[in-house]
């Protein structure tokens, strides 16, 4: 069941089932997620991997909200006399080329990635769910056309396609949210569609149709509650890839703009200093990204394990 994690670029092994491969793992998620019951959430809280992942996320959320209060220095304050100093008692993570405290920048830098990532994923999940429900429920021409669109988006790595749109629209946090949300839409639609297809022939749907319920009511009132667990799993998986995409785009200069502290753009600004031996300026923000990615994955992994138990 680990085969649901997406590829950075968007294609996942499950999706890569292609036209000839074995049945996509997305169907498996749908089936597994059906078995979700309230007691499973209690099981989740007992898993150490979940606790560790959640603890790391809570830590970064606290930093994002109260960063300025926790940080030992003002993340924007330059002390040119203390530029490029290594980690020490006064500056635990050292200072950057402008003498700014790296620890403070790492703590405060959590903010934008933690705002953009969930919002983009929520946008993608809402749009993807609507599209997936329609594709699975109506089938036919809509399914075929939307299916090709999914395929076309899959043919491009998410980072590249976001590039194209961000350059065209101009870089900003809102652009980042919209572009990543739109890229996730077809990917999430694919999972939701697979989940809907497993529901389509069940009795409760024919009953609903016989009762004369309208398509919209059947889709959102009858099918949606039953595929919700599958959507939740997909959401956590996409969240991991949103972190990947946002961090990468910031690193490439299409996200948060300097001098606002941000892990990706701080790395971009300082990585040339690596050759001069100033490793702390890039290594600590890199480890911050690594910890966030790992935390999201630990949570996703625990949810899958609990669903499969």
């Amino acid at each position: 069941m680990t085969d649901i994690a997406g590829i950075p670029g968007g294609a996942t092994p499950a999706e890569s089932g292609g036209s000839l491969g074995p049945a996509g793992g997305t169907v498996a998620i749908a089936v597994a997620a059906q078995r979700m019951a309230p007691t499973r959430w209690r099981l989740l809280l007992r898993r150490p991997t979940f606790i560790v992942g959640a603890a790391i996320i809570v830590f970064w959320v606290v930093c994002a909200v109260f960063g300025r209060l926790i940080a030992p220095y003002n993340p924007l304050a330059q002390q040119l006399l203390f530029a490029n100093t290594g980690p020490s008692g006064t500056h635990w993570f050292g200072t950057d080329p402008l003498g700014r405290d790296v620890l403070s920048r790492v703590l405060v830098g959590a903010r934008d990635i933690l705002i953009v990532t969930p919002l983009a994923t929520i946008l993608g999940t809402i749009l993807g769910t609507a599209l997936g429900l329609a594709m699975g429920y109506f089938g036919g021409a809509l399914d075929l056309i939307a299916g090709r669109l999914v395929e076309a988006v899959l043919a491009l790595p998410a980072v590249i396609i976001s590039f194209l749109f961000i350059v065209a629209l101009g870089a900003s946090k809102i652009t980042l949210i919209i572009v990543i949300g739109f890229i996730f839409t077809p990917l999430i639609a694919r999972t939701v569609r697979a989940a809907v297809l497993t529901e389509r022939h069940l009795d409760y749907l024919s009953s609903a149709r016989l009762l004369g319920e309208r398509p919209l009511r059947v889709m959102f009132g009858e099918i949606l509650p039953n595929v919700l667990p599958a959507i939740l799993v997909e959401f956590t998986v996409r969240l991991g890839y949103a972190v990947f995409a946002v961090a990468t785009l910031s690193f490439l200069g299409f996200g948060v703009q300097p001098p606002t502290p941000d892990w990706g753009s701080d790395i971009a600004a300082n990585y040339t200093g690596l050759l001069a031996g100033y490793w702390w300026q890039t290594l600590f923000p890199a480890l911050a990204i690594a910890s966030l990615v790992t935390a999201v994955n630990l949570i996703t992994d625990s949810i899958e394990q609990v669903l499969n138990a």
């Binding site: 670029g9 990468t248 990585y271 490793w279």
Partner: protein, 318 residues
């Protein structure tokens, strides 16, 4: 069989056409006025109009799309806004460089991923399996520049064992080029390892539970023979599909690695074009990656049919 191939080709062309629409939409419609986007908000209106006219973006939309797509069909990818010459030689040179890097990553990761997956499957549920699966999953979600920086710090700065730039300079020998590409290839390997290992693991577990594997064990074949002759042949089929779908990612995901290691590949080309708002170059680069992906998927499907007789029959029913 012929029907299947025709249908497969038809779908491929449809996908490419939709892809061209997306690229055209993003590159020519969204910027509104490319001349304005390039010259910036402070430029005078008449210079913007002059540039638009020179770029040919003041013509009607449909005319622009038709002439663009017509050019593509004839191998004319357009004219770079920055260099004012055809983009095709730039894209070609960059693609060749990227293929070198991607090929090296593939050559390392494919055997490694398969071996990792098979080992994980043989020790399924035990510590070895958990370590391979969880580390593979985590690494595959780690941005390349994060692992790249850790690698540069360890091998380039502390140990000084490997060069930290990817290009060996013009006229460098094969071995020298290879040495410069090792460090950039590793972040790609780390990303791909998890996917390939996971697929190989799933396939192997399925094959291990099959009747033919049990028969082979029960008739007294040594374990290595069972694995080599009965398990691997079946378990590797789905893995081929995964490897093919990763090609698109690999060629495209190079943006970060090529930027970090300063390598003149297609990723770097797209990045530079994006920075310079050179939409013609950007469109050509993005479309090239899409085409590479679609062709790789097609190749994988054909290879699967060739390797698996069951699909040959299934395909002709299609």
């Amino acid at each position: 069989m012929a029907m299947f191939l025709l249908r497969r080709l038809g779908l491929m062309i449809l996908t490419l056409w939709i892809l061209s629409l997306i690229v055209f939409f993003a590159g020519q419609i969204l910027p509104g006025d490319p001349g304005r986007a390039i010259l910036g908000p402070l430029a005078r209106e008449n210079s913007v109009q002059a540039l638009d006219h020179q770029l040919g973006v003041d013509r009607p939309l449909l005319t622009r799309y038709l002439s663009w797509i017509g050019g593509l069909v004839h191998g004319n990818f357009g004219t770079s806004y920055t260099y004012r010459t055809a983009v095709e030689p730039f894209v070609r040179a960059a693609l060749i460089n990227s293929v070198k890097l991607a090929l090296l990553a593939f050559v390392i990761v494919v055997p490694l991923g398969i071996i990792g997956g098979v080992i994980a499957a043989l020790y399924s549920g035990r510590a070895v399996d958990r370590v391979i699966s969880v580390s593979g999953l985590s690494l595959s979600a780690m941005p390349e520049f994060v692992t790249g920086i850790v690698l540069i710090v360890i091998f380039g700065v502390e140990l000084k064992a490997l060069p930290v730039t990817a290009s060996a300079g013009t006229g460098a020998g094969v071995f020298n080029q290879f040495r410069h590409l090792i460090l950039p290839a590793i972040p790609l390997v780390l990303i791909l390892f998890g996917y390939i290992a996971r697929m190989a693991r799933a396939g192997t577990i399925e094959a291990l539970n099959s009747d033919y594997a049990r028969t082979a064990v029960l008739k007294g074949l040594p374990q290595t023979t069972v694995i080599r002759r009965h398990i691997l042949r079946n378990s590797l089929l789905p893995t081929i599909t995964v490897i093919a779908t990763q090609t698109g990612y690999l060629i495209g995901g190079l943006v970060v690695v090529e930027t970090l290691f300063n390598y003149q590949g297609i990723g770097n080309l797209i990045f530079k074009a994006a920075q310079a708002k050179d939409f013609a170059m950007l469109e050509a680069g993005v479309l090239t990656i899409g085409v590479v992906y679609v062709l790789a998927t097609l190749a994988a499907d054909l290879l699967l049919i060739a390797l698996n007789p069951r699909l040959r029959i299934g395909a002709s029913d299609d």
